[in-house]
């Protein structure tokens, strides 16, 4: 919530969302918060994709962590990019799920579309991911985190969709 909210309502589809920093990103799924260092993959835990956090999901649904624009959707449907006011986010569903080649994933949004925080982005079949031997952990990474002074995990334990999980400071 910020003083520019009224502009978002009036703005056309081309209007860039504005963000007041420090910005807070919401949980993309209902589940258990996983801090960056506990994500079971060194590419994520080592910050190669930027500072991130994870959610071990209870349900196979992934929601927008903030209002912004869908910058890309992987052909394999397991990863979605969101861009907002200089912040680049990658939501990566499961670990090594690129190998599933889109099976078990369904996307609700299109590239270039504006979304509101809490909009359903995609669904995933948790059983199918588990059976394929992959972790279902949903990772949210600020891929340009080196352009910010701090990106910090601010949750612990169980979280609901939209609960504050990452704080991004200029």
């Amino acid at each position: 919530m910020g003083i520019f909210d009224f502009m978002k309502e009036k703005g056309s589809a081309e209007t860039q969302e504005t963000v007041a920093y420090p910005a807070v990103l919401g949980a993309v799924s209902k589940g258990r918060f996983v801090s960056m260092d506990q994500i079971p993959d060194e590419v994520f835990s080592g910050g190669v994709l930027g500072t991130c956090c994870g959610i071990e999901p209870d349900e196979g649904k992934v929601y927008a962590p903030i209002s912004g624009k869908i910058s890309q959707i992987a052909d394999t449907l397991h990863a979605v990019g969101i861009e907002v006011a200089g912040m680049e986010l990658l939501i990566h569903v499961g670990i090594d799920t690129v190998e599933m080649n889109g099976k078990g994933f369904k996307t609700m949004v299109k590239q270039g579309q504006n979304v509101k925080k809490g909009d359903l982005l995609l669904t995933m079949d948790l059983d199918m991911i588990n059976k394929a031997g992959h972790s279902t952990t949903v990772v949210m990474a600020v891929t340009n985190s080196d352009e910010f002074s701090a990106v910090e995990g601010i949750a612990d334990g169980p979280v609901n969709v939209g609960d504050d999980v990452l704080r991004v400071s200029k």
């Binding site: 190669v48 994709l49 930027g50 990019g81 990658l90």
Partner: protein
């Protein structure tokens, strides 16, 4: 400017993991602009999301370029990266 052409052999193409590793490698050459071009679309190697947006698949041909003070070292590092990972 230095550049080379590379045909992607990895069955999964340039997805999140290799894109992240590519960006990390490219950022080690801050004084040099490294780009990847596929079918006329160019992205800076250091920009992870832009690289992923190129949707590079197995069999695609990309041109990797480096321009700047460390272009010799950077292009060698890129060759090594693509040969080992892509």
């Amino acid at each position: 400017m230095k550049q080379f052409e590379f045909t992607i052999t990895d069955p999964l193409g340039i997805h999140a993991r290799p894109a992240g590793q590519l960006a990390k490698t490219a950022k080690e050459y801050a004084d040099t602009v490294i780009t990847v071009t596929k079918e006329g679309n160019t992205a800076k190697a250091s920009q992870l999301m832009k690289i992923m947006s190129l949707c590079v698949k197995q069999g695609d041909v990309v041109v990797v370029s480096a321009e700047g003070a460390s272009e010799d070292a950077a292009i060698e590092a890129m060759k090594t990266f693509f040969e080992n990972n892509m």
